[in-house]
């Protein structure tokens, strides 16, 4: 047996041992916890009340991601070197992903030059929104804990994109952009005509045209729900696995048992879903924008 195997076996033994110990101490008795409300983890409490412009958690996260997006990129752009260091290399990889894969791959070159700033910003902003969401920040003012006499809000995971209004606004911007581009280049009638697939004539138009119009409108909904539900469901699963389930059901052993799953899902969300959803959102925006100027 090699050393790594021994360490792995020891870790597994400790894991099982703690599970059995918790079972022995607390047993299988279930105490249903009705005071802990899982939806409060996503509740928006107004910290500064300003009507529609009230400042709450989602606004704070939006600000953090917006500031991060602008400052990291401006900072790196200001210190560009001929011999790139590690951070610059990483940013250059992201830049070429945005320029070549997202923008140029889906539209003509003249259009790509025009729309690259918009699509790049969209990608980076959603990306930072998602990534900041996996950083525990002291923002849960519903539950506070006491640290040397100071009442500090609990550390919580929350992302601006886990609130449906943020993806909805982003999707609305994309929707208005591609409809405007389509109407500007082809005219209102021409744009509606371009929705019809080639080779459809006569009575079939009555059937196909409404379906195509509805499917264009559904792009708004699918863009929103794809981003929101991915991030929201990820947060809920992490919350459940990393203790929420044990707190609700009052089963201490179950909380320990589910913890590794929580960690694995956290890494999956952080490593794949956060980047992938930002990429998909920007790519689909580019596909819709590119598709708006061409006939089917």
């Amino acid at each position: 047996m090699t050393k790594t195997q021994k360490i792995l076996f020891a870790c597994f033994g400790v894991y099982i041992g703690v599970f059995v110990l918790l079972l022995l101490i607390y047993g299988f008795t279930q105490h249903k916890n009705n005071t802990f409300q899982i939806q409060n983890e996503f509740k928006l409490v107004n910290w500064v009340s300003l009507g529609v412009f009230s400042i709450n958690r989602a606004v704070l996260y939006l600000f953090i991601s917006a500031v991060l997006t602008v400052f990291t990129m401006v900072w790196i752009a200001g210190r560009m070197q001929a011999r790139p260091n590690k951070i610059q290399t990483a940013v250059e990889v992201i830049f070429s992903l945005m320029r070549d894969n997202i923008t140029r791959g889906n539209m003509s070159d003249s259009m790509a030059a025009r729309w690259f700033p918009f699509l790049g910003t969209l990608f980076l902003f959603i990306w930072f929104c998602n990534l900041v969401g996996y950083l525990p920040l002291p923002t849960n003012t519903e539950e506070k804990f006491n640290l040397f006499g100071a009442h500090i809000p609990s550390f919580a995971l929350y992302a601006a994109t886990a609130n449906i209004s943020v993806p909805l606004v982003l999707a609305l911007v994309v929707f208005i952009a591609f409809v405007t581009v389509g109407i500007r280049t082809q005219g209102a009638v021409g744009y509606l005509k371009s929705l019809i697939p080639a080779g459809v004539h006569g009575p079939m138009l009555l059937l196909i045209f409404p379906i195509e119009v509805i499917s264009t409108l559904m792009r708004l909904l699918s863009l929103t729900i794809r981003l929101w539900a991915n991030i929201f469901a990820g947060h809920i699963i992490i919350l459940f696995m990393a203790g929420g389930l044990a707190v609700i059901l009052g089963l201490q052993a179950l909380g320990w048992f589910a913890l590794p799953a929580g960690i694995i899902i956290y890494l999956f969300e952080l490593g794949l879903v956060a980047t992938l959803q930002a990429f998909i959102f920007a790519t689909l925006a580019a596909i819709y924008l590119g598709g708006a100027v061409t006939h089917h």
Binding site: A229, N230, A233, L276, Q277, F279, I280
Partner: protein, 86 residues
């Protein structure tokens, strides 16, 4: 007989509390699972036939994966809606 009929709505309401989420999430997971399986299976097939196309196939693969995975969330959201609007 009447007493038995009286119990049915109570029992049914007990079932429906989380029923929408279960059906939406479960059936959504079935569809998305099949779809994701097909995507990755086809990617393996394509890469073994043409290993030099690997980079191009990988970028398309993630697009397809994310689009298919979203279908699961449509089911889940529909289930959550039925739970909230009950």
């Amino acid at each position: 007989m009447l007493a038995a009929l009286h119990i049915i709505p109570i029992a049914a309401s007990g079932i429906t509390a989380g029923f929408g989420i279960a059906v939406g999430g479960g059936l959504g997971a079935v569809g998305a699972g099949v779809g994701i399986g097909i995507i990755f299976g086809k990617v393996i097939e394509a890469v073994t036939r043409q290993p030099e196309m690997r980079d191009e196939i990988t970028s398309i693969q993630w697009l397809g994966f994310a689009l298919t995975e979203a279908v699961f969330f449509y089911g889940l959201v529909a289930g959550l809606l039925s739970y909230v609007l009950k």
